[in-house]
């Protein structure tokens, strides 16, 4: 036969989307809000979570799904603080897939939780393209990485529901300007809330925690 063209129109993310939807339905049923924390290796994602544990008080109960290419080090750090944590090891993959997240999420004690924070693999590119069933993506950017990262990695910052800027304690020592960095975020996402923090001493954490608390309250309010 001569060459034939078949029209297809199939979403290449369909399988990932199906797993993400399953997670989203389960989260809605259990009134749990899922956050997808995305940032470079070393930007301070795990330190941010450690800082939150110290500042949190009775605001909400959270567990962490810890994505890494290798080792259980980050999970051990959080386990030491008595946070329910599950380590997801991708063995080389640059992002968490919705399927991997779902299998860990469904095994968490969801009835006793308000928020599940998924710490994605350290990477500003790949995790941004994969829905894992989250209520919001959170971009984590340390000021030592450079003010222009939001415009260099636009997909993540465009889709983020919140941006956390870490390591503000280093501002006196580095040639970075907080306002310039926030302006770069605004270029790709005009409305997103930005939270400058120092997770080590707790500066800036209360507004960030209040933002999560509002999200958790909205989630609890649904279907009830």
């Amino acid at each position: 036969m001569s060459p034939t063209t078949i029209k297809v129109y199939r979403d290449l993310m369909e399988k990932n989307a199906a797993w993400a939807d399953m997670t989203r339905r389960l989260a809605a049923k259990k009134h749990v809000a899922i956050l997808n924390l995305i940032g470079s290796p070393g930007c301070g994602k795990t330190t941010l979570l450690e800082g939150m544990v110290r500042e949190l008080g009775p605001h909400f109960r959270f567990a962490v799904l810890e994505g890494d290419v290798e080792t259980t080090r980050d999970a051990e750090r959080l386990d030491a603080l008595r946070i329910p944590v599950c380590q997801l090891i991708t063995s080389g993959a640059c992002h968490l897939s919705a399927q991997l997240v779902h299998t860990a999420f469904r095994d968490l004690p969801l009835d006793d939780l308000d928020v599940v924070i998924v710490e994605n693999v350290g990477n500003l590119v790949c995790p941004a393209g994969f829905d894992i069933g989250e209520a919001a993506k959170v971009a984590v950017l340390s000021l030592t990485e450079g003010e222009d990262k939001p415009v260099k990695y636009p997909q993540l910052f465009h889709e983020a529901g919140a941006v956390v800027m870490t390591k503000i304690d280093l501002l006196p020592h580095i040639p970075a300007d907080l306002d310039t960095c926030i302006a770069a975020v605004r270029q790709v996402n005009g409305a997103v809330p930005v939270f400058p923090v120092c997770a080590l001493d707790g500066r800036g954490l209360p507004p960030w925690i209040a933002w999560i608390e509002r999200l958790a309250t909205q989630t609890r309010g649904k279907d009830r």
Binding site: M1, V8, L12, Q155, H158, N189, G190
Partner: protein, 127 residues
């Protein structure tokens, strides 16, 4: 590097579509057309390399991969302007506002396949 994961899905979907083709003889793929939104941050060379590797020993081996880039379009919530923007500049060119809603740019789908069935007698008749 996410191109590899995406290509795995592409090859899976192509396999399913080829299996559905109603043909007496096995078919092979000549060309696959994929629509890619600019917000997806796909590097065409990486996707092509993954395609070449992942289609080895399948009916899609040797097929060409045609990518159709879809621009990012958005509407300004401030003044109503609508048009194309750069992926890293969601700023309204009319009023300078940053409250832009994106409409296109996140696409990632297989649009069409060009196939041909294997004709084992071809070589004999040509010689």
């Amino acid at each position: 590097m996410h191109e590899f994961s995406i290509c795995e899905q592409l090859v899976r979907v192509i396999g399913e579509e080829l299996a559905r083709v109603n043909s007496e003889r096995p078919v092979h793929l000549l060309r696959a057309r994929v629509a890619v939104g600019r917000l997806r941050q796909i590097v065409p060379e990486n996707l092509r390399f993954a395609f070449e590797v992942l289609t080895r020993d399948t009916p899609a081996e040797g097929a060409s991969l045609e990518l159709r880039e879809i621009p990012v379009t958005a509407t300004c919530g401030g003044c109503g302007w609508h048009g194309e923007v750069e992926p890293n500049r969601f700023v309204c060119p009319e009023c300078g506002g940053t409250n832009l809603e994106a409409h296109t740019g996140r696409e990632l789908f297989l649009e069409s396949l060009e196939i041909e069935d294997d004709e084992p007698d071809n070589h004999q008749s040509l010689s």
